[in-house]
Amino acid sequence: MDAVSQRCDGTGNMHQRLSSIGGTFERTSTPNNGTAVSLTLPLGKA
């Protein structure tokens, strides 16, 4: 569960997208056990 981000397959791009709207991007992956990407964004008021 420790391999994180910054690959040439578009992770940097995805990071950039989220930070441009004030959010964060995170990817965790373990070999042979799948990958998970997580996008978080603080929301405004309703």
Binding site: A3, R17, S20, S29, G34, T35, A36, V37, L39, P42
Partner: protein, 535 residues
């Protein structure tokens, strides 16, 4: 001047006959003795003979500290100021007069007004007074020199109606208005012109002061037909005049006594048959106050004052010393310069703040406008970039494929392959345009519209790749606004993640979950594929 009133109740008048001298007090005798000698003590008062004994502001006594403690302070809302003057016992062996002036309020010297009085009475045959007329004298006559012989005299004349039954006219002089009155009054050339009502009777003029009498060359002399009265007989005097009847004098040098002259009943002037008289006389005087006194000042405006007290001789001449007391009426706070400066400062500060706030708000509004303009600008740039990045390459590809299809038009199989490719690409382009339009459309600018779109898209995309997709979504979604840029970037990120799963993960299942916890939106895309090697 000249208020007529009855003399019936004047009990203070005690006619005294000079010659028969019945039972005089020693005081009266010594006064006369002093007169006969004709000497005058030199009045050299080294210190003021009068001082302020008390000052009351609205009835409350103020502490008198003297000069060393600075000015006496008064509140500006003081309604009345009462000053009590008292003689300084040790100052002078002989009684003196005083006058005072409040610099800053009074325009000249004042004294507690003492009055001396010259009066005439109309009497009947039994010597009862029918009516009378009084002529008050106070202050100082113009041209007063301190000595009656050299003073300028005021010419006076009065026309009087003779009342019914009056047969005699009596002259009467008194220094008692009231007893504390001190000073000198001199009467000269008193003359009566009797005007007849019947044409047969002659009009005639009669002098009322005879040149004859006893001791007529002395102050203590008595003209024929005149007599002294009062508590101090020395007050009534005469001054001989060469070739003329003497001056009739009142010299009151005692604050506790009064005196005067009158013409005796037996020598009155016959008035029978007269309808009017014309009274003529000349007078010179300096009349003031000896002894204690209490005077009042009304409301004094804020400011600095000096209460000056001057000691005078009986004749009204200043004796060369003066005492001064400083008074300060403290202005109320709203009349002070400091208050107005403070107020002006506060007002200008408030104005400054207001102007600042106003300009700041205007600037802020302007900034907001610029900001939103910039945001629109950025959004336009982003759309342009997306069009170029996403559609540009595909459209170029499309053009290339069309070229190839045309080149291979002869070979049906090759051409069909190209056309299939063109069809797929066109379909992909349509979808991309749809997505872009969706993201830009303001109707979809909330979480409520975004999450179903995202899940729907993910499901279709993964299913098309033959992967089952599990969705984990909140039961209800708030209507939280989501900007076009936020939707755009979230969507493209998820799209890219899905693309990676399909292309690289070799997964058999994928899962999309959306959570909102404490106003934080979390979107997770997971797969069960082979994972990525650590860097």
């Amino acid at each position: 001047m000249g208020v007529a009133h009855s003399f019936q109740s004047q009990s203070t008048i005690r006619p005294v006959v000079w010659n028969s001298c019945p039972s005089w007090t020693t005081a009266q005798l010594s006064g006369l003795f002093f007169l006969l000698l004709g000497t005058n003590p030199t009045l050299a008062a080294e210190k003021p003979a009068f001082a302020v004994e008390a000052i009351e502001a609205d009835g409350v006594k103020l502490p008198l500290g003297g000069e060393t403690t600075g000015p006496l302070k008064l509140r500006s809302n003081t309604r009345s100021l009462d000053i009590t003057f008292a003689p300084v016992r040790s100052a002078s062996a002989v009684p003196l007069r005083f006058r005072y002036q409040l610099d800053g309020f009074d325009l000249g010297w004042r004294d507690p007004i003492g009055v001396m009085r010259f009066a005439v009475r109309f009497n009947d045959a039994a010597d009862n007074t029918i009516s009378g007329e009084e002529f008050d004298a106070y202050g100082e006559s113009p041209g007063w020199t301190g000595v009656p012989e050299t003073a300028r005299f005021k010419e006076r004349q009065e026309t009087l109606e003779v009342p019914q039954g009056a047969t005699r006219l009596q002259a009467w002089l008194s220094s008692a208005g009231p007893q504390q009155t001190m000073g000198v009054y001199a009467l000269d050339g008193l003359e009566v012109m009797i005007m007849s009502s019947s044409p047969t009777l002659e009009e005639r003029s009669v002098g009322m002061i005879p040149p004859t009498g006893s001791l007529m060359d002395k102050s203590a002399g008595t003209p024929t037909g005149w007599a002294r009265h009062g508590t101090s007989l020395g007050i009534a005097q005469i001054r001989p005049q060469a070739g003329r009847p003497p001056l009739i004098i009142m010299r009151d040098d005692r604050p506790d006594a009064f005196g005067g002259w009158l013409t005796r009943g037996s020598k009155d002037l016959p008035l029978a048959g007269a309808s009017k008289i014309l009274l003529k006389w000349r007078e010179a005087y300096s009349i003031g106050w000896g002894g204690g006194a209490r005077v009042s000042y009304p409301y004094l405006p804020a400011g600095e004052y000096r209460l000056r007290i001057q000691t005078l001789s009986v004749e009204g001449l200043p004796l060369g010393n003066e005492s001064v007391m400083r008074l300060l009426v403290v202005p109320p706070f709203y009349q002070t310069r400091g208050f107005w400066i403070c107020l002006a400062g506060l007002v200008s500060a408030a104005l400054g703040l207001l102007v600042r706030q106003f300009t700041r708000r205007r600037l802020q509004r302007r900034l907001d406008v610029l900001e939103s303009e910039r945001a629109v600008e950025r959004e336009r740039g982003r759309i342009a970039r997306d069009l170029h990045d996403n559609l540009g390459a595909d459209l170029t590809h499309l053009a290339l494929l069309s070229d190839l299809a045309q080149a291979d038009a002869g070979d049906v199989n090759k051409a069909k392959f190209h056309f299939d490719q063109i069809f797929d690409l066109a379909q992909s382009l349509t979808r991309q345009v749809d997505e872009m339009v969706w993201a830009v459309n303001p109707a979809n600018d909330s979480l409520k519209g975004f999450v179903p779109f995202l899940s729907n898209y993910s499901q279709n995309y993964l299913l098309a790749a033959g992967l089952p997709c599990r969705l984990d979504l909140p039961d209800s979604l708030e209507d939280v606004p989501l900007s076009s840029a936020q939707r755009h970037h979230l969507f493209l990120t998820v799209k890219e993640a899905l693309h990676n799963i399909v292309k690289h993960a070799h997964a058999t299942e994928a899962r999309l979950s959306v959570r909102i916890h404490q106003r934080l939106l979390t979107i997770r895309v997971e797969d069960n594929g082979r994972g990525i090697a650590t860097v």
